[in-house]
Symmetry: C2
Subunit: 260 residues, 2 copies
Amino acid sequence: MPGDASTGTFLQGLERGLAVIRAFSADTPSLTLSEVARDVGITPATARRILLTLEQLGYVRSDGRRFSLTPRVLALGWAYLSSLDLGDIAGPFMEELSAKTRESCSIATLDLPDIVYVARVPTSRIMTVALGVGARLPAYVTSMGRVLLAGLAEDELSAYLSSFEAEALTEYTVTSVDDLRDVIAKADVDGYALVDQELELGLRSIAVPIRDSRGRAVAALNVSAHASRSTPDSLREDVLEPLRECADQIGTALRRRGRI
Amino acid sequence: MPGDASTGTFLQGLERGLAVIRAFSADTPSLTLSEVARDVGITPATARRILLTLEQLGYVRSDGRRFSLTPRVLALGWAYLSSLDLGDIAGPFMEELSAKTRESCSIATLDLPDIVYVARVPTSRIMTVALGVGARLPAYVTSMGRVLLAGLAEDELSAYLSSFEAEALTEYTVTSVDDLRDVIAKADVDGYALVDQELELGLRSIAVPIRDSRGRAVAALNVSAHASRSTPDSLREDVLEPLRECADQIGTALRRRGRI
């Protein structure tokens, strides 16, 4: 039974501290105390206690007025990545798939409403750094997101769709809830999802689930290719089979090591 | 003035919550409540409150007995990475350097006693995923660590060296404090550091600092090469100059965007 704010179990200071860390971003690399208070929805006094605590712990630095995060924050995300140990376990299989298909491949997991990249083997030099581990994309418009959404329980999927807000990132983006429900159902039946320039013009991607011992899709593996180097048919005919084999190998290896 | 546990400023729940997240690793991907309490040095009751809070917030999942981290934890590290925005700012320069030298290059910052990788452009397929962003290595045995240590104030460096514990990772590893002080002093004079198979047999690396507007080494850029493809002289003669140019370009770009 999770902690509950109404009981003494829940640690509000911890919740707010994590929210303060997440308040920093590319648009707001540094924040004043009052900006943090406003963004997180806490009093300046609380923001001050949190920022000074984080500063003493080395997660935040300050020039006296503006606060920013330090690389120590990466140790938090790294705790998850190293506990998943994808580098050692999935890395070799991903290298092989990337060499075989001559395209980038990635593994992502679901953190609704986003997917989060947890491993990536790039080929195209572009995006190597930009779309690295930890990067987030909206689940509805990515091939990995759709196979993961297809793996949700009906009530989880309905909850997601009920609060779903689509943005037409390109002229091809599926934006209506009904259409999205259809493509997710199709991904469930097909066992894969193919997204054709819905996220970005010129970018195609095909993904399959990585399943745990109970058959649940706990992660997804994809291959993404520039439209100039691929067609939807070429992805289905040339990439889908090696992609499935690789996902099975990774799933087996992760299950054997008790990671999923 | 940082928060202080002796005053009401310091939020111990936040400190302990972050320590609990960091208790998970490749060796301990899942932990029981009592294991967390023991590893972090808190009471089981406190560990329970923290774990249930983290579970309710979606950073931790549980099978009832064992707890593990969720991908949401990556959002914390990502807050730092995206606020640094290295992908967009440094990425293109790193791609160019990697293409020019045909070797992997990386950017790391100091989080004593470690360096933390914040950007990486791999060429060799082998460590692509394993040594990704967020990975940590001991500062004393890496080229990036040595140029960053060379940039520390004397009292900071002395504090580091006084608690310095060396491990002979290879037969070439510098392990004595005096020798380490010498190579750090040399890195300061030379403006670069070259590490020859001290971290791993067959691996050479050369690094230079990335400086902020006050000339402080806030990050380091390196090129690493297999010994089979390089000699210490070839790294100095062929790689050092493009490496320096790249670090200057990145430093200028980061300063212009107010990231350092």
